[in-house]
Symmetry: C2
Amino acid sequence: MKNVFVERQEKIFKQLSSANIFAAVLKDFEGTRNSSIRYLTGHPQDAILFIFAKGATLLVPWDINLAKEKACCTEIIPYTEFNRIFSNAVVSIFSGKAPSQFSKYLKNNLPKEQKEKIEFPGSSSWLEIKELKKLMPDKTILCRKNGIDSMLGKNRIIKDKKEIAIYREAANITNKIIDELEQHIKKSLNTGEITEAEIALLIEKLIRENGAEGTGFETIVAGPKRSWAIHPYPASSSSPVTNIGTTIIDFGVKYEGYITDVTITLTGKNLTDKQKEIIALVTDAANRTENLLKPGIPAIAVSENIRDFFAQSNYSMPHSLGHGIGLDVHENPVFKISSENKQVLKAGMVIAIEPGLYDPLAGGVRLENNYLITKNGCEKITNARIIYLLN
Amino acid sequence: MKNVFVERQEKIFKQLSSANIFAAVLKDFEGTRNSSIRYLTGHPQDAILFIFAKGATLLVPWDINLAKEKACCTEIIPYTEFNRIFSNAVVSIFSGKAPSQFSKYLKNNLPKEQKEKIEFPGSSSWLEIKELKKLMPDKTILCRKNGIDSMLGKNRIIKDKKEIAIYREAANITNKIIDELEQHIKKSLNTGEITEAEIALLIEKLIRENGAEGTGFETIVAGPKRSWAIHPYPASSSSPVTNIGTTIIDFGVKYEGYITDVTITLTGKNLTDKQKEIIALVTDAANRTENLLKPGIPAIAVSENIRDFFAQSNYSMPHSLGHGIGLDVHENPVFKISSENKQVLKAGMVIAIEPGLYDPLAGGVRLENNYLITKNGCEKITNARIIYLLN
């Protein structure tokens, strides 16, 4: 079987060739993360990746030992060779001045009759692109909305077999944690108290005990006093979680780089009519969405359906209905209601669906699960739920 | 006493006025974090901030309730008013079309005879600036290396009284954790085993128990088998930490938004001569640096001194000697050895100094502490150390 990284690289070589691009350059450092380097090579972080349409990849990592262990690529040159300056690396490589057999080969193979096109991601900074244009007047520097990001986005939106296998395991771990969490919280509230921060810490512990890399993002635990917030700050506090009102727990497991994203809501006794109404509406919205998910349906149609459903009861949701998940917690497809959103569901997508309603007095309720879009519909891979604390 | 946020805003108003800038726009969202919004207003995250040189600030937050509770600013307009699209918000505000009393006032006060200058950070994306230039042909859009980032950088590099008070508390918490960690690890190794991940989890627990917000960055625990790596991946694993060889533990406490950054090294029994040599060199380098830190010395001079010191024993350090700390873990001043680095130490700077040496066979040793630069020298505010596990 062919190495999955080789397969992914071959696909992008073809796409670059078709677009008549000589090479694309990706950068993943603090402040400018780009998980496509991990997607394409397996190298987890802190590197520049040069992708040559002719069929080669050159990695310039910060940690050379890590790269030697992890990266699937044609050649590796340590970032220190370029004094750890991005523009130095780019200019040296494309001028054939880098200490690389490969870059000499490329120099001899440059197109003679035209400037070669080099593509940078749309997220590249204004100053960086301006500098590169100045430093390399003999190249055509591209930085487009539908450039390399879009090509890689189209590839990454459909998960391949390896990714789906990883997601099944990540979901198993997530579900085990949800079960253990439910038991632990119920036990704690039977015999005493538990704080938001203690629950966040427990999740951290359960994730590590169950063999995952860590949390996919900062765990949110918002007890009854502040569950009205979408993203409370701080994400978890020393406030107690009780069995009165509603508590939102939003967390993700990172497993082999891939992130799950689930939200459970704890609901207590003596619920008000308003709280009962919100719980019922969010539960219904989750079920309605589940019935809508299938290949061919525009993501925006799903979002509009749920918006209209909530509107019938005079509620509105202050955030999107969902998002793709993968190496990043927020990936394509997006479910934003916007005329620019043309994304249509397809088999192989892995998404998070998270209906939620929030009331300043009654508190908030959110229910988030992860789904794999299948040939005929969808498969719910996680088991997040409303947990009733009735004792 | 004047609110510290008002003071910080008044300073930047003056700087913008002197530079003849009408307004600056900062953005803090997933993927484009900018902690200067928190620095200027107290609002912790997810917002756009418009700073008008005439003396007003307008916050466009994602979470309106959080902003009402936390933000010190002239006016707040929810991001949903602009359909959560950055360019919509910018264009609406500057054309006076936003639902804001304030923007009407500004419209009436625009300079009549020239295009007003609007400044965006140098990190703004190529596509974003290109779009804004197109959408607002009647404005002068600036995106410069020495623009708003540089102004705010100059202000933030010197910590004010409030920040120094926060750092004293953050350092106290950090020191308490180092002591508790030492006790706990020694006890664990006396009676059994402890893994890298268990130590990382213990740090998380101690941070929360001691009243801090959380970790300042992902905790690194690299046991004897992989302490040769600068930033091992994953940051902590299920490998055991033992009292043979060297183990690196690098962590930070986040307290009221501000981050400490310390590294301790555990060293065991039966050390090889090579290991003893590295431990001695790193300890000496830390002491040498401490004696050099004082106002007026260029950061690069300190770095070169330590580089030369290590070179005498035929060692070289694969990373910078240190960095400023603050709301971000890596701030100014930088200690990189580069002709572009002109930064000179001044009283009020808070920095992390982290000499480290790494050998593929012997393992790694790093010792990192935080210092406040004072009038006459420096004050070591943290108590990280080499911990000998001799039992």
